[in-house]
Symmetry: C2
Subunit: 351 residues, 2 copies
């Protein structure tokens, strides 16, 4: 009988937060790659370009002129997927043809006045202003909408059409699909075990250690046991916190600092400006904000596509789209590689 | 009060087959695109290349030499994600850390001896041999495994590393995630309504007509009401058929012919060899094959990434990864565009 070794023997793992399985086939990293190689990532971005609609002083598509902002800057997306006043599609006439109303707003948030920086190249106090801006926009839009999705698409590989450091905020009148799944799972776990799923999960990972990437006084970063993307991570507060606005000043400073460390490690992994999509999940907001959401624990997901190098990504296609997510290295291997990387950015260390 | 129009007013739609919602924001096609443009698709592939491991007579990574095949050719994947003998990870010690055994096999199926053809450029009798090979491999691997996933990744954009026309077959000891979802939905629909979900769905689409792309004596192709990818389609038999091997000779010929038409339309849309991932879903197989699977209806999903042109794709990132799938044109608009396209391939018409 062969002894099971996760790094050699394929197996499936369960994601209890999103109720999904992933196939882990780590022996697959051995195969040669002859497929598509991405264009190299453009590293030379001008600090200021008056034609870039995200820059201070630039004119946007709707004719508005940006202020000469010097910290973060929040404005309405000129091409929003969600608008506040869309009419209701009306009652569905058949159970297989269900449509429902969707209202919302889409905002863009610039992180910094300069186009040639990214979060890991910003200072901790500068990142702290981003954290504060995230908390405020959650508060502001959460007053009206049940879900406020903050997300950052970084890099052309992630469909990001502008190199200026920024994220987006889409608030909606409905709980999006993945929010619904996380709500169901966390609700069920709490009623069965009497504590929040992600509080117990964070505690277990602190004990088991093999998937930890970074720890600080108030935060943890780990590669989840059920990670799908090669170097996916989960960022969790140690304290039970339901939403971004609840974070204390000390927790916000510490968050800025651990984010800088994580994103520096990401950039150092393949010595490139590491592409990813990331986003925050916290308890629903809106008119039900006062209900009992104690089963929720605030967290951020980082989903980076790169697998082998700065130009070879993981393709989530075929089997993944039709059957089940599949990964080519174990979460433990990914965590080990990220842990071993320096916390000084490769572009700053060269000086 | 504004009257609701799906092409102007964002709304959400429900996918009853996979239990998921999609945000439809068709007004979004108006925004300009300044993001990543894909490298042009390489159209000049040599008909035969003895270094290409998929060609007749070529030597593969494991040293085996391919026969001089002249139809389809099925062989074991040299870098399989699923192997027949992986040991069991053993009992999980915690509900948040669940792993299970996974065994299986991965095969590759060449469609044709020539590297410079694709399905739409093959003749109907040649495509018919592919249909027969799909049915046989389902039968063969389905004798042992509960799920046999046939899928084709076409084009470098879909992670396909070899231009030779081929698909893959991954058979597993477990029901993959998406199969499980389709099982749950079809089972529930049958017990509530007394007939298979996709039989009623196909009938409704034939009545409503607005999402039909192609119909033939035995088959339907439509853009599902809940489509996520811009030009996603669903291919359905008209008769209640649970699995590929059950198809009659007439249904197989007709399938070859409607596939050629669909894929010709796809290529004609942007006058390019249209990339996609596609795959077949049918009732589970293996030791439970004789159980009651009457709630299943055989179908194929086509998931093509292109949105605006041969080089501008839809990015499923940020909001889509963190919150909910989102599309930029309505399924009805997509169906109308596909319907209007000629059934003669743009490269053959030029002669
Ligand atoms: O097996 P291939 O074609 O080399 O690989 C491709 O398809 C597989 C199955 O969908 C994916 O897991 C890979 O990410 C993709 O690159
Ligand atoms: O809004 P952007 O950055 O132009 O667009 C990008 O992010 C959106 C939200 O994740 C996606 O829907 C688009 O496909 C992507 O290209």
């Amino acid at each position: 009988e062969t002894t099971f070794r996760a790094s050699e023997h394929q197996h499936i793992r369960y994601n209890p937060l999103q109720d999904e399985w992933v196939l882990v086939s780590a022996h697959r990293m051995k195969r040669p790659w002859q497929g598509q190689v991405e264009p190299p990532i453009l590293e030379t971005v001008p600090r200021h370009d008056s034609h870039n609609p995200l820059c201070p002083g630039a004119t946007r598509a709707n004719g508005e002129v940006n202020p000469h902002y010097d910290g973060t800057f929040l404005f309405d997306n000129d091409f929003p997927a969600l608008q506040p006043d869309a009419p209701n599609p009306g009652l569905s006439d058949h159970p297989l043809f269900q449509a429902e109303a969707a209202q919302g707003v889409c905002k863009v948030m610039c992180f910094h006045p300069w186009s040639d920086v990214t979060l890991p190249l910003m200072s901790v106090p500068e990142i702290r202003t981003v954290v504060d801006a995230w908390a405020s926009v959650t508060e502001e839009l959460g007053a009206q909408y049940p879900w406020v999705q903050i997300f950052e698409n970084k890099g052309a590989m992630m469909g990001c059409s502008n190199p200026h450091p920024h994220c987006q905020v889409w608030a909606s009148s409905f709980l999006p699909d993945i929010a619904q799944r996380e709500e169901r799972s966390q609700q069920a776990y709490q009623s069965q075990h009497g504590e929040p799923l992600l509080m117990e999960y964070g505690r277990q990972e602190l004990l088991r250690k093999e998937r930890l990437v970074l720890t600080s006084e108030h935060w943890l970063v780990l590669v989840p046991f059920w990670a799908v993307w090669p170097f996916q991570t989960l960022l969790l507060p140690r304290r039970h916190v339901r939403r971004l606005p609840e974070l204390t000043p000390a927790e916000r400073d510490d968050l800025a600092s651990i984010m800088k460390k994580l994103l520096t490690k990401y950039d150092n992994l393949f010595e490139t400006s590491f592409p990813y999509s990331m986003g925050w999940h916290g308890a629903p907001t809106g008119s039900e904000a006062k209900a009992d959401w104690d089963h929720w624990q605030l967290h951020a997901h980082y989903y980076p596509p790169l697998l082998r190098s700065a130009t070879v990504r993981k393709f989530m296609v075929g089997y993944e789209m039709l059957a089940q997510a599949q990964r080519d290295l174990t979460p433990e291997q990914a965590a080990e590689r990220l842990r071993a990387l320096p916390e000084v950015h490769y572009r700053l260390g060269q000086k």
